[in-house]
Chain length 327, copies 2
């Protein structure tokens, strides 16, 4: 059987296949058909888990501690679940500076205070030098919702908005890794609950999803495949930061596949568009929100993009390695 | 500030200090005063998290997949909480055999089926070759109890039993690591819910704790310090396996500090001793259960052991490295 490749960690097609194979080993011990990002464990409590291995561990806009709490709780926020309880597991390499580790604790704590979540359980392992690179953080998050949003509510004709300009986290890490200096570029790393919590309760909101590994393109593909409908987006309407475009030009990345860590897509009933966009734009995390496309009956399971040059391009999940250890 | 050492990962004194420093960074964002192994998140649901980095990943008596579910859910079982929902995060090294990873899924699944727990959420990250050694698994477990046990119930005069012979997991990993062949020695790795679930409901049961990293000695010290009372144990009453003693003789380990993964201590009202011991011994995981000591008013916060040679020895948590990557 095949060996794991970095492509299995990009959040794209290979990751999806790997998770499917791994889940299938659990048979009756699995809830649902496949491992989910986020699952209900009582009538009103949802749980999610995420591992963070980002390198470098400190980057413009955040660090691995902030990223862990943002990334971990954003999976809850997009279901309309208020993040309440966090359990954090740390795997650290011998020789790591203790003060560095504590600084990630402070970063994590400051996001907790912002969103009102509490750390309730933890674990620490130290492995010998060379057995891990620095520190990895895994965060399990439990949140509360009476009425979880989910993609099954999406219908043909629904519109899709993106909450902010795309690819900033991936471009920031890419620029650091390749030693590019791009003025003003920083990660979008942010906890989305303050933006999405109120939105989740608005009339006509169908589903939300955060764009993380694999970027906007992968999130849209997961919806199209999950609901068995087509999605059409307009390239010209997607908010993009000049710095992100520069990094993409130089390194040959597709902005649609670059990771975000404070960006979500929202599906809503078209008659609610003005209210949805104005609610998003009234929050600092959603100032650049834009309607980017719609759900269609054609090309089920596929995402098409009307390009700026007038053609139509198929948007797929990335297959190989985009940029390892982005989150 | 100091750098992390392997001693910070042994589960002993340095681990306790590290967790205290890390927790204190969270201030108001922390539930309670310190990070707990296991915390209540609703009136009847408890959560725990554990990272697993064991090396080698396959050992007599188990593998990292089985260990993750046993070790993760045992923290719930000792509180009397039935393990129900598991969230699993995998950090794997590029080049790992996919079939090997799937085999850990099957091992984990078989423990899930045994105890009736379900996998509800997951995450997979792949890091470049050399950035992690093989695979690390983190498991968050949620369980249900109406009446969580805890050390605060322990009183002077209560007796303490251990459920099985100690140090088998640590001795097994130590023997493998140092290439010793010890006939019949295998890890005690087991899910304790089937043994401890019924016990938790019995009259007079005060508290239970699984002995993992740091072994029986550390678990007893945590109780003595946590309740501010003394604990006295009798060396001759502690069940020990001949293979474990051989490994300790050769490698210079103290069996009291060797890790267990299917062993717990139980504190109970002395008039219940016969019922407690016979309940334990009626289950295959508790056949070797024995009463080993009692809670006393003297030497508060300290554990004393009446040695086989007639003296009294102070039992402390291990300070430096015992054996890295044991779990």
């Amino acid at each position: 059987m095949e060996k794991l490749t970095l492509g299995h960690g990009t959040g794209g097609r290979l990751t999806a296949d790997l998770i499917k194979s791994f889940s299938s080993q659990f048979g009756e011990a699995l809830t649902g058909k496949e491992l989910e990002d986020c699952s209900m464990i009582t009538s009103d409590m949802a749980i999610t888990i995420d591992g963070f291995t980002v390198s470098p561990r400190v980057f413009p806009g955040g660090d691995i501690g902030k990223l862990a709490v943002c990334g971990g709780t954003n999976d809850l926020a997009v279901r309309g679940a208020k993040p309440l309880f966090l359990a954090m597991s740390i795997i650290a390499e011998e020789g790591l500076d203790q003060e560095e580790l504590l600084s990630y604790g402070r970063s994590a704590a400051s996001v907790c205070l912002e969103i009102g979540a509490k750390l309730v359980a933890g674990d620490t392992k130290v492995v010998p030098k060379g057995a891990a690179d620095g520190v990895f953080i895994t965060l399990a998050s439990v949140g509360k919702t009476e009425n979880p949003l989910g993609m099954s509510r999406i219908e043909t004709g629904d519109k899709i908005a993106v909450t902010t300009s795309i690819g900033r986290h991936g471009a920031t890490i890419g620029a650091l890794r390749y030693d590019l200096s791009v003025e003003g570029l920083k990660s979008d790393c942010a906890a989305l609950w303050p933006l999405l919590g109120p939105l989740a309760k608005m009339e006509g909101i169908k589903a939300m999803r955060d764009c993380t590994r694999g970027g906007l393109g992968t999130a849209l593909c997961e919806w199209a495949e999950g609901i068995g409908k087509g999605i059409e987006i307009d390239e010209s309407s997607i908010p993009m930061d000049q710095g992100v475009l520069s990094v993409c030009d130089i390194l040959g990345f597709d902005p649609l596949h670059l990771a975000c860590e404070g960006c979500a897509i929202v599906a809503y009933r078209p008659d609610q568009e003005d209210r949805v966009l104005s609610a998003l734009r009234s929050h600092p995390l959603g100032i650049d929100a834009a309607a980017i496309g719609k759900v269609v009956d054609g090309h089920p399971g596929m995402v098409g993009m009307n390009t700026a040059s007038g053609g139509m391009r198929v948007v797929d999940m990335p297959i190989g390695e985009v940029l390892p250890r982005i989150c």
